[in-house]
């Protein structure tokens, strides 16, 4: 089996995988990082969104081998274990941006990518358009949109487009 190595949430990791192993399988099954979810098999729901070298991607539509040498950030890497939550995580809690929580990791990772691309001052229309790749069945999006706007603002106060803790 081919070997693969990459950096995940700041840690160097490696493993032997079948070539057909998806990044999401590598994360969930090999690394036991189960915060990244799978909600579909047609690359549409966004439950699996992670960052590859700082850019959001659907980990169900990437081979682990394509990520050789890449820096991956997952939901588990946003806040240090003993540190404060990332402002975007905090915003989702504060604004009730989640119910069952299944879409949430993908939503938060996508939200950070919106901030990366569109900055800290996000209007409702922009957020809704930019959430095209993420499906939530619980919230009706109302509070997700609120959370992202607030989280983006808060990140701006930190003076950066603050990504992961690492």
């Amino acid at each position: 089996m081919p070997a693969v190595s990459m950096t995940v949430n700041g840690k160097a990791v490696s493993g032997d995988v079948e070539a057909r192993t998806l990044l999401v399988q590598f994360l969930r099954e090999n690394l036991r990082l189960t915060g990244t979810h799978v909600g579909c098999d047609t690359s549409q729901c966004g439950a699996c969104v992670i960052h590859v070298d700082g850019i959001a991607a659907k980990s169900c539509t990437l081979l682990a081998l394509q990520c050789e040498g890449a820096k991956i950030t997952t939901i588990e890497g946003l806040a240090a274990a003993d540190g404060p939550l990332h402002p975007m995580q905090e915003a989702f809690r504060e604004h009730h941006g989640l119910q069952c929580g299944y879409c949430t990791p993908g939503m938060i990772m996508s939200a950070l990518d919106i901030v990366r691309r569109r900055g800290n001052d996000l209007d409702e229309h922009t957020i809704r358009e930019q959430l095209d790749g993420n499906i939530c069945r619980c919230t009706g999006y109302h509070n997700i949109v609120k959370a992202i706007a607030a989280g983006a603002k808060e990140m701006g106060k930190g003076g950066t487009t603050q990504q992961a803790a690492e």
């Binding site: 189960t34 909600g39 047609t42 009730h96 809704r128 009706g140 109302h142």
Partner: protein
């Protein structure tokens, strides 16, 4: 109101684990030596199985075994059942066909499982599943409920004539007929309530483990009601006795009804785990979910409303054909009957109602309760009829509603329900103000200037929740009682665990239930934790659906807390050396009336356990109480939703420009969570009205079998919602809660379609009202109407 008590928008306890990626959903659970199940599924909607050859599959790498329906039968694993008996008009019981977990001789829908591969990995399992050779004799299929009963339609189950499960009715046919005969005006509508796929974002999953040493089976599954799953799998499927079967539903990623039911995959995983002595896990692909999760709705209805010359409703009648799919799912029979026809009175005083329902088998996935279950279908019938009647009579739709609202309570409808409290005009009035209905005409003119059509649609819905008084549902055919249990365990240090038979999968029980306990016992919110979803921890419970957790589940907690207080007072009496009758409890403190003697709740708890102040003869040590609460009535949440929509004349595309919802949920424990439930419900209802629809080809292939073809509402399809509340308390439970989980989904489809038909000037428009459908309706409408 305290910062964490009843009525406070407390931030949720459960969120930390979800926003940090530490939720534990079924697929996240891993057991040592775990194997993976991959199902071999029928590609045909209707076929006889001539033979199954598993030999090539068994020889594939990583394969542990391949099991079939024949082996399942040999091992005497029983069929899945529908647990609600419905009798036809002629008194005959419903016709429930056998539903084996693996089909052995015949398949009745695409996706019917015929074999299962147990392999080391999913990849290997899928490779091997392709090697299972199944020889089918393909039969012609029927998917359309309107055609299922026709002469010459394919017979799906032997001995079940015309594919008809039951022919049921409710109400007084003769009296209704007479009322229609005297009517000045009759409004008639043909309605299709489109078939939906629930699509909770977490696909279903099951993980089964067998402990040979103790002969115990454990099942982790995506369930809204683990105890009911255990009961059915033990008592009907006969897998293992209840005390040898533990069911754990850990974090569950949404349910909306689809995870109430007991499914074949759970049965097969348990069976295989015991047979192979290895844990067996199955996680549904989304494509599999489309084929195998129980779908929702799928009604065809002809409905009529009779009115007098003053716009007063005299009677309503409806004839519905309900598609239940290839097999009767767990609660399927109750949905188009007692959860549907009993709500056909809406918010209105309607003297006579008569409803007939035929339930039929078709070669499609089973259909069962989906958010709202029967009540969205009823609301759609009533609210479309009322709106269209108003238009035909040239009355303001609000005025027609006002003239017919039920205004005094209790109100007995002609269809079983006795409404106990409500103020329907109050919610409509508030909604009309919030939606600025007065300014609509101006906005419509403005829109016309930009080539857009604007419409306004109301939906004044009612639902019956708090499901349900056990005796009542028993008399209607339910196989179980629908009470709820709670156990309150006070620890010696004064912290509290509440074990509930409800199950949260997004509703936030860990927060709202703790709010109740913390307020009632006067202890910190963080000192309360909620335990649910494990049959080894919680003794029994009925789970979460039908907006029942507040009205029924929390009432059970209240009852248990009453007992805790009573016992704690006894302990306090010994501690404070006072008569029990003199002990008062307030804000977490026990005091002796007329003295300054007091003891904090924590001190009393400790004394209950150390038991130094009383003898065993005087009082049992410990502080733990249980209650089984059985509601005395349904609850009747109601409200008014108003949808304002804008339509692009050239493309037919509609955009919701404003949504107002004013609901009466009785007491609200946490407004933040309640609003969230409303938002989510509206989104699902808008989905049904504008975009969602499960479509089968005539051959029984699911054409809309993935998110590529089944349109899920996305953020840009929806606006932000304006949500308001009115309040009349539910008299039937101690907290006055009515329930809020389904309201949005029940109210919204009618509001959307009323708005679009208002805009385009024709009533001929089926759901989902896609851009194509609206454009086509505009083409059919006369130019005057379209202008």
């Amino acid at each position: 109101m305290s910062a964490t008590g009843i009525g406070a928008a407390v931030r949720r306890k459960e969120d930390f684990r979800f926003i940090t990626g530490q939720g534990q959903y079924t697929d996240d659970v891993v057991r040592p030596g775990e194997t993976r199940a991959v199902f071999v599924r029928s590609p045909h909607a209707h076929a006889n199985i001539k033979s199954i050859d598993v030999s090539a599959a068994k020889a594939m790498p990583g394969v542990i075994d391949v099991l079939t329906g024949a082996q399942l039968a040999t091992d005497k694993i029983g069929n899945l059942i529908c647990g609600w008996m419905i009798h036809s008009k002629d008194g005959t019981p419903m016709k429930m066909a056998p539903h084996p977990a693996l089909a052995a001789s015949k398949v009745n829908c695409v996706g019917d499982a015929v074999a299962v591969v147990i392999a080391e990995t999913v990849g290997q399992g899928k490779d091997a599943a392709e090697k299972v050779k199944v020889e089918y004799e393909v039969l012609s299929a029927v998917v359309d409920p309107a055609k299922a009963q026709a002469k010459g339609a394919p017979q799906i189950h032997p001995d079940i004539a015309n594919n008809t499960i039951y022919q049921w009715h409710l109400g007084d046919a003769k009296a209704t007929e007479a009322a229609f005969a005297n009517a000045k005006h009759v409004t008639k509508l043909d309605i299709v309530n489109n078939r939906l796929v629930p699509n909770a974002m977490e696909p279903r999953a099951a993980l089964a483990e067998y402990d040979a040493g103790t002969d115990n089976l454990t099942l982790w599954n995506t369930s809204q009601n683990p105890h009911v799953a255990r009961l059915v799998i033990a008592a009907f499927v006969g897998m293992a006795p209840e005390h040898k079967l533990r069911v754990i539903a850990p974090d569950v990623g949404g349910g909306f009804g689809s995870k109430i039911f007991i499914y074949p995959e759970e049965v097969v995983c348990l069976w295989a785990a015991r047979k192979l002595r290895r844990p067996v896990k199955w996680t549904s692909d989304r494509s599999e979910a489309f084929l195998t999760d129980a779908h929702g709705r799928d009604h065809i209805t002809h409905a009529e409303l009779a009115l007098d010359g003053n716009g007063k409703i005299l009677a309503l009648r409806a004839k519905t054909i309900a598609n239940l799919g290839a097999y009767m799912s767990t609660f399927s029979s109750s949905v188009p009957t007692y959860l549907y026809a009993t709500l056909l009175s809406g918010q209105y005083d309607i003297p006579q109602i008569y409803c007939e329902v035929d339930a039929v088998y078709t070669n499609t996935a089973p259909v069962d309760a989906y958010r709202g279950a029967g009540r969205p279908e009823a609301t759609f019938v009533v609210e479309r009829l009322v709106e269209v009647a108003a238009r035909q009579l040239n009355l303001e739709p609000a005025e027609l509603r006002r003239r017919n609202f039920v205004k005094s309570f209790p109100h007995q409808t002609p269809v079983i329900m006795a409404y106990d409290a409500g103020d329907y005009n109050a919610s409509m009035k508030k909604a009309m103000e919030m939606a600025d209905v007065k300014g609509f005409a101006k906005r419509k003119r403005e829109a016309a200037r930009h080539g857009k059509l604007r419409g306004l649609g109301f939906s004044a819905y009612i639902e019956a929740c708090g499901i349900a008084p056990s005796q009542a549902v028993g008399s209607l055919g339910a196989g179980v009682g629908l009470w709820e249990s709670a156990e309150v365990r006070v620890n010696p240090t004064g912290s509290v665990e509440v074990l509930t038979g409800c199950h949260a999968h997004g509703q936030g029980h860990e927060t709202t239930f703790a709010q109740l306990v913390s307020e009632r016992l006067g202890i910190p919110f963080d000192s309360v934790s909620i335990v649910h979803g494990d049959t080894d921890k919680v003794q029994f419970g009925m789970g979460t659906y039908g907006s029942r957790s507040g009205a029924v589940g929390m009432s059970a907690i209240v009852k248990a807390l009453d007992k805790i207080e009573a016992k704690a007072k006894k302990v306090a009496a010994f501690m404070l050396e006072a008569a029990e009758g003199d002990i008062e409890f307030k804000d977490g403190k026990f005091t002796v009336a007329g003295t300054d003697k007091s003891a904090a709740f924590g001190e009393v708890a400790l004394n209950a356990y150390i038991a130094h102040k009383f003898t065993g003869a005087e009082l049992e040590p410990g502080l733990k109480e249980t209650s089984f609460y059985d509601p005395t009535n349904f609850t009747f949440p109601a409200g008014c939703h108003i949808c304002e929509i804008e339509i692009d004349i050239e493309t037919g595309k509609s955009e919701i420009v404003n949504w107002t919802a004013v609901d009466d949920f009785g007491t609200v424990i946490n407004p933040m969570i309640v609003e969230g439930q409303v938002h989510g419900g509206i989104a699902q209802g808008v989905g049904q009205a504008l975009m969602e629809g499960a479509v089968y080809s005539a051959e029984g292939q699911l054409v809309s079998g993935s998110f590529m073809d089944y349109t899920m509402p996305r953020a840009h399809d929806l606006p932000s919602f304006h949500v308001g509340l009115t309040e009349t308390k539910a008299p039937s439970n101690p907290l006055g809660i009515k329930g809020c989980g389904e309201a949005g989904a029940i109210a919204s489809p009618a509001a959307v379609i009323n708005a679009i038909t208002d805009a385009i000037g024709t009533e001929e428009l089926a759901m989902p009202a896609t851009a194509n459908a609206v454009w086509a309706a505009l083409q059919r409408a006369t130019p005057r109407q379209a202008a």
